[in-house]
């Protein structure tokens, strides 16, 4: 495409020898290369938009069908516009219960995994001890292992230790795989921190505890936040591992959706999905906005 745009360029040198004098560029050439040139200039933007569309289209469909009033049990064909599902999201038996359970597990798992993961990351990044490389490898394992294998083996373990399947087993499983992601995120952050900053704090009369709260933690915070958000997202929508380790009465939201899909998905599932999506986008946007406002203020302070 780009070659075609180049060849008739008027700057091309005239062939040497007895060729006729270089002709004026034909008027038609410019006319048909113009759209090509436009395309070339905007190729990156176009590709970006296409990728975004590819990513967002399913979400748009979910959102659209949350306003559907399906004719039968299946919410797969557009029938009529309605806000019934939005006004009564808990209208389906078991949905809100499972949603609450999933949120509780995700919050608790995030809290525990972030706390333990941060501690582990500090140990692995700061200290040398026997078995450090083994620990590093083991931490990485849950990320690399197929979920089915992990879920099944955990299930076997719980069965043999006679821990009753339920809330606790799901929580333990989630904390375990979330931990890896927290450790990786926090460790990367700690490794890139300048150790002299903590020395400077100690030099400036901050004891070990104050050094940690005033300098170390604020500097590690972005890594910890990233790990926590990842944990929440992973725990909230995990299905495979949860399926192996849930009790008969503990149905998480992904499990509820899976179960419902066998008999026909209620519109409310689309409502919950859309709401989660909008909420997540809103949180990210708010963060961006706050950051850019802070930057503007700093710039203003700098200028003033």
């Amino acid at each position: 495409m780009s070659l075609a745009a180049h060849t008739p360029a008027p700057t091309a040198p005239a062939p040497p020898g007895g060729a006729p004098p270089a002709p004026r560029p034909p008027a038609g050439t410019a006319a048909w290369t113009a759209p090509l040139r436009w395309l070339r200039r905007h190729a990156v933007v176009l590709a970006g938009c296409a990728a975004l569309g590819y990513l967002l289209l399913p979400n748009a469909v979910v959102l659209l069908f949350s306003f559907n009033k399906p004719a039968g049990r299946f919410n797969y064909a557009w029938h009529a516009f309605s806000t019934d599902a939005w006004t009564d999201p808990c209208g389906v038996a078991g949905l809100c219960g499972s949603l609450g359970l999933s949120l509780r597990i995700a919050l608790l798992a995030t809290l525990l995994a972030t706390a333990f993961g941060t501690l582990a990351a500090f140990a692995l990044a700061r200290y040398r001890f026997r078995g450090k490389s083994t620990t590093n490898a083991l931490i990485f394992l849950p990320m690399a292992m197929p979920e089915v294998v992990m879920g099944a083996s955990l299930g076997t373990l719980f069965l043999n230790t006679r821990i009753g399947f339920g809330f606790v087993t799901i929580l333990i499983a989630h904390v375990m795989f979330c931990l890896s992601f927290v450790v990786v995120a926090v460790k990367a952050r700690i490794m890139s921190m300048d150790p002299r900053l903590e020395e400077a704090a100690r030099d400036l009369y901050a004891g070990p505890v104050q050094t940690f709260w005033r300098v170390t933690l604020p500097l590690a915070a972005p890594g910890i936040a990233a790990g926590a958000m990842l944990s929440f997202a992973l725990s909230f929508d995990d299905f495979i591992i949860t399926q192996f380790n849930a009790g008969p009465s503990t149905v998480t939201f992904p499990m509820f959706v899976w179960g419902a899909a066998q008999r026909g998905v209620p519109v409310q599932v689309n409502v919950v999905g859309s709401a989660m999506f909008v909420l997540a986008v809103a949180v990210v946007l708010a963060g961006r906005l706050a950051a850019s406002r802070r930057r503007t203020q700093e710039r203003k302070a700098a200028a003033g």
Binding site: R196, A201, D203, L204, Y205, Q210, V215, P218, A302
Partner: protein
């Protein structure tokens, strides 16, 4: 506050970073630890700050033993290399950090005062990354000084700045030190920086203090080949003393100078007697060596030779020695004008092999039988156009500008301390 290190050493595994060291830094002085990287100067500074625990010895601040005190309990603050400003705090909060930890009153007022001192009042609410290198350096200085420490430690504080800014900050640091009057201990690898700012310089090499004294003293009377080469440039010639009354010695001048026979030199070269310690101090009274006399250095306990025993006095007892002369002290006379060489000067005939024009000065390399590359600097006042490469010349200098070094001690040869080519 006087700092006293007594027998302080530091080992990391089987590597000795600092050999047992005795050092005293008088109150209110500007003290420089000078040396190449890896010589133990930063480790010494970190032991003063409390960031490194000495393997042996004691650190005293005034009358208090602070050897075991953690850094946050020491009345000492540090300006770190690359400044180590807290990136999540703005300039004012960086400066207030130490005050807040100690819960002193009037924090706002003290921070403003300090911002004025370093002329950064307008930038109080910027984050460190929005500042230039020179501004960051001043914030680091203010952050340390605001706590009114009894000693300020500076770890290569100007290393990250460009040459012009470094010159300006050198003067500014010196001004601030005079203004606040506290003891500054400054670590640097830049000999010019140490010479410009410090009252007393300790030259360190491989974990030991080679020599300590006022800048002029180190330059005019180096005691080891390392110091002679690390501070500026030296021409070192190997020779054997023949004594003032020796059979070849010519003591007709009666100057009492030692005669040293150097292979290739037409006549023995003269080396003045080592000046007595008191004499040295008197020499330097006008040059600003205020604290050199009070400052003592030596190596304690297990360390090697004492620094005192390495001067010329020992060499005079017979062994071979190194004769040194600074390039700017040497004058060149064309061979046919050799009669213009003043009576009693040390003289070496030779041939110019290289001449460099630097504008303010000229550099000649002279090949002599005694020394293959004798470096000579000449002020560019009235350039002698006869001095071109290939010309035969006589290099001569006043015996008073000659210094002697023990050729065997220190395990150093004549090239120790020279920068790699």
């Amino acid at each position: 506050m006087t700092i006293l290190l007594s027998g302080v050493s530091k080992t990391f595994g089987d590597f000795t970073a600092v050999h047992p060291l005795d050092l005293s830094v008088p109150e209110g002085s500007f003290f420089a630890l000078l040396g190449a990287s890896g010589c133990g100067k930063t480790t010494t500074l970190r032991m003063l700050a409390g960031l490194e625990e000495p393997s042996s010895g004691r650190v005293l601040l005034g009358d208090d033993d602070i050897t075991g005190l953690p850094p946050h309990r020491r009345p000492v603050n540090t300006v770190f290399q690359n400044y180590a400003l807290f990136p999540h705090l703005d300039v004012a909060e960086n400066i207030a950090f130490g005050l807040r930890r100690r819960r002193t009153g009037r924090i706002r007022a003290q921070v403003d005062e300090m911002l004025d001192l370093v002329q950064l009042g307008a930038l109080a609410h910027r984050k460190p990354r929005q500042l230039s290198g020179g501004q960051q350096q001043r914030v680091a200085l203010a952050r340390a000084l605001v706590n009114r420490p009894r000693v300020l430690l500076l770890d290569e504080p100007l290393g990250a700045l460009d040459l012009k800014l470094r010159r300006r900050m050198q003067l500014e640091l010196k001004r601030i030190q005079t203004e606040v009057g506290i003891t500054f201990v400054h670590v640097t690898h830049d000999q010019e920086e140490a010479m410009t700012m410090a009252d007393t310089v300790a030259v360190m090499n491989e974990g030991r203090v080679e020599q300590l004294g006022a800048p002029w003293e180190l330059y005019e009377h180096p005691r080891t080949p390392f110091v002679a080469n690390f501070l500026g440039t030296s021409n070192l010639l190997r020779g054997e003393p023949v004594g003032p009354g020796g059979e070849e010695g010519d003591d007709s001048a009666g100057d009492g100078a030692l005669r040293v026979r150097v292979a290739g030199a037409p006549a023995p070269l003269r080396l003045p007697r080592p000046p007595a310690a008191a004499g040295t101090a008197a020499d330097g009274a006008g040059t600003g060596g205020t604290s050199a006399e009070e400052t003592a250095v030596g190596e304690a306990g297990t360390g090697g030779t004492s620094a005192e025993g390495t001067a010329v006095g020992e060499a005079a007892t017979g062994g071979p020695l190194l004769l040194g002369v600074r390039p700017e002290k040497i004058a060149l006379a064309p061979a046919d004008a050799a009669h213009t060489v003043p009576e009693g000067h040390n003289a070496l005939p030779g041939r110019i092999t290289d001449a460099g024009y630097l504008g303010v000065s000229l550099t000649y390399i002279v090949e002599t039988d005694a020394c293959r590359e004798l470096t000579v600097y000449a002020q560019n006042v009235e350039r002698d156009t006869r001095l071109t490469p290939g010309t035969r010349v006589v290099a001569h200098w006043s015996p008073a500008h000659t210094f002697g070094l023990d050729a065997q001690g220190h395990g150093q040869d004549a090239t120790a301390g020279r920068e790699a080519p």
